[in-house]
């Protein structure tokens, strides 16, 4: 195994555009680093601040939010809402001491597999340069979040 730092990126993609973009990247046999793991949402508007914070808390080095191009949303205008949340979250994580570049937004349509692959490659390199997210009490938070999840299930 190499000693190079391999960042872990969580990507939230919308069902209609960016998840399909990732799909078309795969169908096109395009290579991009395996550091990103995608979670499919119906719409980028589904992105909840807690998902992003939970991803960071769990040890992700960066989070990518990806949706349809502005004006192309299958739910009329929800990607704009994702964008406003993204801008808010960027400020929030900056206040928490996390570099704002660790949260990125990408518009990719279903046909833009190449753009998706290129952007992910670029992002992985950018995060690799930034280094691991120095989240000292991540372990603690992970446990807490699990307890919370368990509590939610019980409730």
């Amino acid at each position: 195994m190499n000693d190079k730092f391999e960042p872990l990126i969580i990507g939230f993609t919308c069902n209609w555009c960016s998840y399909r973009a990732a799909d078309s990247a795969g169908l096109g046999r395009l290579k991009y680093p395996p550091n990103i793991r995608l979670i499919r949402l119906m719409c980028s508007g589904r992105i909840d601040t807690t998902f992003v914070l939970q991803a960071f808390a769990n040890g992700a080095d960066a989070v990518l939010i990806s949706g349809c191009h502005p004006g192309d949303c299958h739910y009329v205008e929800q990607n704009y809402k994702a964008q406003s949340r993204f801008l808010l979250m960027r400020r929030l994580i900056a206040q928490m001491g996390i570099e704002p570049q660790r949260l990125q937004l990408l518009w990719a349509s279903a046909a833009e597999g190449t753009i998706f692959a290129a952007e992910v490659t670029r992002m992985v390199e950018e995060i690799r340069k930034l280094g691991p997210l120095n989240w000292k009490s991540s372990q603690q938070l992970t446990v807490n979040s699990k307890q919370l999840a368990a509590a939610e299930v019980a409730a």
């Binding site: 195994m1 119906m42 719409c43 939970q54 299958h74 809402k81």
Partner: protein
């Protein structure tokens, strides 16, 4: 159209506008503004005497493409359905100057009613098909092609009127002076489409339309015809055969975009002609082609009000402005709003066979929905836990489909918000927005996404070690 107009189950509302839509599939309420046509449809027989007697001539920008006239009271074209004429208030002498009333005097059935007002009609419908068509591209936007400045530059729509037997020249293809037949004609393809300055998309119909025009010019005038094309796109049945036929008729094809159309002669033989300057990419040279007439094969553009119409019906449009279908391959006529279907050029540029096919498909989908008696809805939906809802109304404005309604306090029951499952499309924006966590999204619940998130973290990128075991 006549059979549509006569069908007992079809209520045709021409000269009308949908102003308001509410409700959901199977239960829409639509408000339509029926514009005042100043003709009583109950009394009018469609005899057309009002049109003959009306003294006011107006240039017809719509059907005659600016080449012919209509009256101030008119039918858009002779075979129009319904047969009732419309009075154009802006151009009517009575409305502008207070005298005339020629149409009223000559109308035998007393159908002219100058006091008519716009009427608003509200009625329930189960499904909606939007087939609002397109707007032709205005070639004045491309100044270097000279449309509007150089007399003998025509648009394809103008040319259609010129070559039509019922048109202003009786089907004679002539220059703007009305007498001279052209000796040579240049047809420019892709005017306003496949061009990053205007529209990136291909307008689909222009190649075949240009071929048809070339064929008509050859047949009627014997003129030399040049086609300046970007790529010939003659897909679909019998189209390429027609291209081969036009080729064999001796029409000339130059592959390259036209830089400009000018009347400034530089070389001998160019005087008094329009010169088309273009790059011939097949021989790699610039060419100057002097012609008598230029026809611009203009692009199709989304309707100028497509955005407002889309919002009114709760459906989305692409960046260009075409309405978006539910799925480009598997569901090309439905939209993300259940019960609203699209057909024809409202969805994207297409030719007549494709529009007819899509219109029939949309109608069949509606009939299918009606015959089902029950509506099957997608399982992905949001729902609000009434007891947890704090009635803050944040979610109300998040929904583009107006699926969330606010139920005010009543009889001791606390106020809360409620999701209409027939309207909800399951995007999940409200789920994420709810500060009380009162909204649950099926299939994409917070718990499920959190579980995915936790699961993904267990896999180490380096592949060396899995730190935790997946919980059973």
């Amino acid at each position: 159209m006549v059979s549509v107009g006569n069908h007992p189950n079809i209520n045709l509302m021409a000269y009308s506008e949908v102003t308001q839509v509410s409700g959901y599939v199977g239960n829409f309420t639509v408000t339509v503004r029926q514009k005042a046509s100043y003709v009583d449809k109950e009394k009018c027989t469609g005899c057309g005497v009002c049109q003959d007697k009306c003294p006011k001539k107006v240039i017809d920008q719509a059907y005659e493409a600016g080449l012919g006239h209509r009256k101030a009271i008119y039918k858009p074209f002779p075979q129009a359905v319904p047969k009732f004429p419309v009075l154009d208030r802006e151009n009517c002498t009575f409305f502008q100057k207070g005298t005339c009333k020629a149409c009223e005097k000559f109308c035998e059935s007393n159908a002219i009613d100058f006091k008519q007002q716009d009427e608003f009609v509200t009625f329930p419908v189960g499904n909606i098909v939007l087939a609002t068509g397109f707007d032709p591209f205005d070639p004045r936007r491309i100044a270097q092609y000279g449309y509007g400045r150089l007399a003998n530059v025509f648009t394809s729509m103008e040319f259609e009127r010129l070559s039509s037997a019922g048109g202003p020249t009786g089907g004679k293809i002539v220059l703007r002076d009305g007498v001279t037949a052209p000796q040579s004609v240049g047809i420019i393809h892709c005017v306003g489409s496949r061009d990053k300055h205007y529209n990136n998309y291909c307008s689909v119909i222009c190649c075949m339309q240009s071929l048809k025009l070339a064929h008509l010019i050859k047949e009627k005038t014997g003129a030399t015809v040049y086609n300046f094309y970007t790529d010939m796109r003659t897909a679909f049945k019998d189209y390429d055969e027609f291209y081969q036929r036009v080729l064999s008729e001796g029409t000339l094809f130059v592959r390259g975009r036209v830089a400009e159309v000018t009347d400034a002669a530089r070389l001998p033989g160019e005087e008094g002609k329009l010169i088309i300057q273009a790059e011939d990419t097949l021989i790699g040279k610039q060419r100057r082609v002097p012609v008598d007439m230029v026809v611009l094969s203009t692009a199709l553009e989304p309707r100028h009000d497509a955005k407002e119409v889309g919002q009114r019906f709760g459906i989305s449009g692409s960046a260009a402005g075409w309405f978006i279908e539910r799925h480009p391959k598997l569901d090309p006529v439905a939209t993300m709003t259940e019960g609203v279907f699209i057909a024809g050029c409202a969805q994207g540029p297409k030719d007549i066979p494709a529009s007819v096919a899509q219109g029939a498909a949309a109608a069949a989908r509606v009939v299918g929905k009606i015959n089902q008696k029950e509506i099957a809805v997608e399982p992905i939906r949001a729902s609000i836990d009434k007891d947890r809802c704090s009635a803050c109304r944040i979610c109300n404005n998040q929904c583009p489909f107006k699926a969330i309604s606010y139920i005010p306090e009543k009889n001791g029951q606390r106020a809360y918000s409620e999701v209409n499952p027939a309207l909800c499309q399951g995007c999940g924006t409200c789920v994420a927005a709810c500060p009380s966590g009162a909204i649950a999204g099926t299939v994409f619940s917070s718990q499920q996404i959190m579980a995915q998130l936790n699961g993904l973290m267990l896999l180490n990128v380096n592949g060396a070690s899995v730190e935790e075991k997946v919980p059973a």
